[in-house]
């Protein structure tokens, strides 16, 4: 990409959209577009699809709670990210949950991807999931079993911040839910991911989980513990309505032997008192309850910038794609979150940063990490070539 490949449209107006795409295509006849829209612009998806369809421009896209633009979160407008040459893309709706069906589905996905690998060794499998898919970590494990280090892995979860089911992934003609959008990016080094949550000395051990539900904490019903902690720390009574608002301050941590922690933010209080998380909690895993964890923003941003430098080159002057976890923003508060965005822009000295508020993130701390599904993180990746 010789000119900027990231363009933010404050208003999704058909003419502006058409003019942008036509100008891009004049320079890149085989171009394609990744469109990121906030969920409030859901009705505009058809407009974007219509313009792309009429211009015969390949389109991949997703709806997120908000966009990241100009060091702030936007609930209007659209990001259009240009591929100079449209890479392989596929939409997989209605992903299954049963073990055998998962095997079959992942066989199909991995088979599709494998058939487009070619001789290129530096490829990234960029995945956007509907956040309502409950077994993303399993799907990721299974994909890694099949594709292993043949690709880098990066991705994020799309959907509604209210965790209401809705179609949130699309191409030129379709809009799907409960699925995945896969893009195989050639000559792409992957992404880095960081959260830098630190926990206070006092921890609780959680036990008894099933899929993406926490049934018990300290051998007591999960919700009982939650309610006590919220009362003790914030003096509030947790209800189903305010659950997500407070639960982001009590995410679960899955301890790993390299000292890193996987964060799982509970987002829904189920009827039976169990807690529904975005992202699976491994079966039988012992969890740590991160009681109001402190977030080291400086370190987070530094680690990201270092990671990006290690991926290819220093991010200065590059265009970047950034996913920022919605749960993290809720935990930090809007001001602190936007402060992190500003810090990241300053430290990275990126030419431009396009991104979205995500509902779960996929990646590793380094390029060759085992790919994992995270919450509470920032995922950053170079987009396109360095601008002149």
């Amino acid at each position: 990409m010789s000119s900027t490949a990231l363009h933010y449209l404050p208003e999704i107006e058909e003419r502006a959209l058409r003019e942008l795409l036509e100008s891009w295509r004049a320079e890149f006849p085989q171009m394609g577009v990744l469109a990121l829209l906030p969920e409030a612009e859901m009705e505009a998806v058809a407009r974007v699809q219509g313009v792309c369809s009429r211009l015969d421009v390949p389109l991949a896209g997703a709806l997120f709670p908000a966009l990241v633009e100009g060091n702030a979160f936007r609930v209007r407008g659209a990001w259009l990210l240009r591929f100079d040459v449209m890479p392989y893309m596929a939409l997989y709706p209605d992903l299954p949950e049963g073990p055998e069906q998962v095997e079959a589905a992942v066989d199909a996905i991995a088979g599709d991807v494998a058939s487009h690998l070619g001789a290129e060794r530096e490829l990234t499998l960029f995945m956007l999931f509907d956040a309502m898919v409950p077994n993303i970590a399993t799907l990721l494990d299974e994909l890694y079993l099949r594709l292993a280090n043949r690709v880098h892995y990066m991705g994020a979860n799309a959907g509604s911040e209210a965790f209401k089911p809705m179609p949130c992934l699309f191409d030129t003609t379709r809009m799907i839910e409960h699925g995945m959008l896969a893009l195989l990016l050639p000559s792409h080094p992957g992404a880095v991911l960081e959260h830098c949550y630190t926990a206070p000395a006092q921890t609780l051990t959680a036990t008894s989980t099933a899929g993406n539900r926490i049934l018990q904490i300290d051998w007591r019903p999960a919700f009982e513990v939650y309610r006590e902690m919220a009362r003790a720390h914030y003096g509030v009574e947790i209800s189903r309505d305010n659950f997500y608002q407070y639960a982001v301050h009590f995410p679960f941590g899955i301890v790993r032997a390299n000292g890193a922690t996987l964060v799982r933010i509970p987002v829904v209080l189920e009827e039976d008192g169990s807690l529904f998380c975005v992202g699976e909690v491994p079966p039988n895993s012992l969890l740590t309850l991160l009681n109001a964890p402190a977030v080291d923003s400086e370190r987070t941003v530094d680690m990201l910038v270092q990671g990006l430098s290690a991926l290819s080159a220093a991010p200065a002057g590059q265009e970047l794609l950034l996913f920022y976890c919605a749960g993290r923003r809720l935990h930090l508060g809007l001001e602190a979150a936007e402060s992190e965005l500003r810090l990241f822009a300053a430290r990275s000295q990126a030419a431009q940063i396009a991104g979205a508020l995500s509902l779960g993130e996929i990646g590793g701390a380094t390029q060759w990490d085992y790919p994992l599904f995270h919450n509470a993180t920032l995922v950053a990746s170079p987009w396109g070539k360095r601008l002149p």
């Binding site: 060794r121 530096e122 494990d141 890694y144 079993l145 594709l147 292993a148 280090n149 043949r150 991911l193 960081e194 959260h195 830098c196 949550y197 630190t198 926990a199 206070p200 000395a201 921890t203 051990t205 941590g253 301890v255 790993r256 032997a257 390299n258 000292g259 890193a260 922690t261 491994p282 079966p283 039988n284 895993s285 012992l286 969890l287 740590t288 080291d296 370190r299 987070t300 680690m303 590793g364 701390a365 380094t366 390029q367 060759w368 990490d369 085992y370 994992l372």
Partner: protein, 571 residues
């Protein structure tokens, strides 16, 4: 990823060990056990790739490399393609205690062309194998990775052993299940054969047909390579006669000799089954000495085991054998043999029934023939006394049979009509011969005597047990459809259909043919007679059928000439 928890090191390790223990304990097969264990190790350690080598050989002293089979790989696409193959690796990589080290040179053989591995964590599986975790850069950790997984590796070693035992056990069960399935399939095949055989026993009408059907059932439904039936011949050589054969023969039965004598050629399964009356099995054609005379031909045609079953009559006397040649060695198991034995018993019963039925049919035929001979004798007696009506009865019988055929009557009923025609005038034996052959008009008293002949005929025949109403037909044959006939004046349906047919034939023949008292009046006259009295004297349906017979030239009277005899009008 940044430093996370400030929980105690013991707690951290405990959580990892707990989950690893659950993963290791949750599998029952080696392959998923190794895969899941590697996945969780990579998950916890951030190493991107892991390999498992089970039971690696001990490197020879001083050897720099060792050949080891790669049993599992996660996270490395190229190495994943080599699972199950032998890899030549530096001995230092697979030998020794748990070890975390950065050594790009040692890992060169495992590195791909994009990002070489520089660090590895070796975890011995307590004597069962080695796990190698690989990374382009050693993941940072404060935990003693070489030690914390020791309990996991101990458990993994036990789990591998248990999984192997379980797989062996399962494999044994599967093998047993397969054997059971194979047995079940055989029995099922035998049952289908038995069912088809029983159906044939009920359906088939003749013995050769049944024998052929038995062989067809065994080869086409039973799937056996060949089946054949032979009967014992009581000749000097105690030879056998092949009665039926189906399946792949390729000249086998013609090319070899069989006997049921107690000599070398009689020691085969077929001969022995006939001689002893006992079922004979050759489980492996190549192995049984007694099968030597037939072995070459049998093996060449793919017969590898043989079952011969004796065929016995109702008195238990063996008269032949059914021989089944199968493609497989040990093709006949106990249950299948039992069912085959049942099948042969059913066939033997069927053969016996067919023979009994044939015997009965032959007896009945003889009896019937005897009756018919008697009828013919009676008819001849009449005709000897009344040469002018000689042949009349036979011709009436023939025409009546033709009309009955045209009307669609059964063959049996037609035969009865023909016989009735042959003797219908038998009563004339009681009428003085001079009246019968008297030229010119008869006196009333003479005519009255002639009109007695149906009753006389009836009296002669009424006690003879015919399967047809011959006596009744004879009695009624001068009755007329409108009731104007004699001796009773029956009308319409009161008169037997057979009689109504016979009556029309009698009239046609009488008018057409010569009589001692007049010349033949010709077919036109005869036809005019029945047409003009259709529905009055004669049954209209019978008249119509008779017209069709005559018009369609389906019937031609045998020409008889009694020239010069005086004309008259007495049929």
């Amino acid at each position: 990823m940044g430093k996370a928890l400030t929980m105690s090191r013991e707690q951290e390790i405990l959580t990892i060990l707990y989950e690893m223990a659950m993963v290791v304990g949750g599998e029952v097969s080696v392959k998923p056990l190794l895969t899941k264990t590697l996945q969780r190790l990579l998950y916890f350690t951030s190493f991107p790739a892991g390999l498992v080598f089970l039971d690696p050989p001990v490197a020879a002293a001083g050897a720099e490399t060792v050949e080891a089979r790669l049993d599992a790989a996660v996270g490395d696409f190229d190495l994943g393609q080599r699972v199950g193959r032998m890899l030549t690796l530096p001995s230092a990589l697979l030998s020794g205690e748990a070890h975390l080290r950065e050594d790009a040179a040692l890992l060169k053989v495992l590195s791909g062309d994009v990002k070489p591995y520089t660090a590895f964590l070796r975890l011995p599986i307590d004597g069962r194998g080695i796990i190698l975790l690989l990374a382009p850069k050693a993941p940072q950790t404060d935990l003693p990775l070489t030690r914390i997984f020791e309990p996991v590796m101990e458990n993994l070693a036990k789990a591998i052993m248990l999984c192997r035992d379980h797989e062996a056990y399962t494999s044994g069960l599967i093998s047993q299940r397969d054997v059971a399935w194979a047995g079940l399939r055989k029995v099922n095949r035998a049952l289908r054969t038995l069912s088809a055989g029983n159906e044939a026993v009920v359906r088939v009408q003749t013995e050769p047909e049944l024998l052929n059907e038995m062989c067809r059932t065994l080869t086409e439904i039973g799937g056996y390579r060949m089946a054949w039936v032979c009967y014992a011949v009581n000749d000097e050589r105690r030879s056998v006669r092949i009665m039926a054969q189906r399946g792949f023969d390729d000249g086998y039965l013609e090319g070899v000799q069989f006997s049921w004598a107690d000599n070398e050629l009689g020691q085969g399964p077929t001969g022995t089954a006939i001689r002893t009356g006992e079922m004979q099995i050759v489980r492996d054609v190549k192995a049984e000495a007694r099968f030597a005379p037939w072995r070459e031909g049998a093996v060449k045609r793919g017969y590898n085991s043989v079952l011969a079953l004796p065929l016995k009559d109702g008195a238990g006397v063996t008269y032949g054998a059914l021989t089944i040649d199968a493609s497989d060695v040990e093709a006949f198991d106990e249950e299948e043999i039992r069912l085959m034995d049942d099948l042969v018993r059913d066939f033997s019963y069927g053969i016996g029934s067919l023979r009994d039925r044939e015997e009965r049919r032959r007896s009945e035929e003889e009896l019937r023939q005897g009756l018919e001979d008697a009828i013919q004798a009676i008819a001849s007696t009449v005709e000897m006394r009344d040469p002018y009506t000689a042949g009349h009865q036979r011709r009436v019988g023939d025409l009546a049979a033709a009309v009955a055929t045209e009307m669609g009557l059964s063959a049996e009923r037609i035969h009865g009509i023909r016989l009735a025609g042959t003797v219908h005038d038998v009563g004339k034996i009681g009428v003085p011969a001079d009246i019968l052959s008297k030229p010119g008009h008869l006196l009333d008293i003479e005519y009255g005597l002639i009109k007695l002949h149906p009753k006389i005929g009836y009296d002669i025949l009424k006690d003879v047990k015919f399967p047809w109403p011959i006596a009744q037909i004879v009695l009624q044959h001068h009755e007329r459809y409108d009731g104007s006939g004699y001796p009773v004046g029956l009308k319409g349906e009161q008169i037997l259909l057979e009689t109504r047919i016979l009556t029309v034939a009698d009239v046609i023949e009488a008018i057409f043919s010569f009589r001692p008292y007049r010349p033949g009046l010709g077919m036109d006259k005869a036809v005019e007679e029945i047409r003009s009295h259709r529905g009055t004297l004669y049954d209209p349906d019978v008249v119509d059928a008779c017209m069709r017979v005559l018009q369609q030239n389906q019937f031609v009277f045998e020409q008889t000439t009694f020239g010069g005899l005086p004309a008259g009008a007495r049929s």
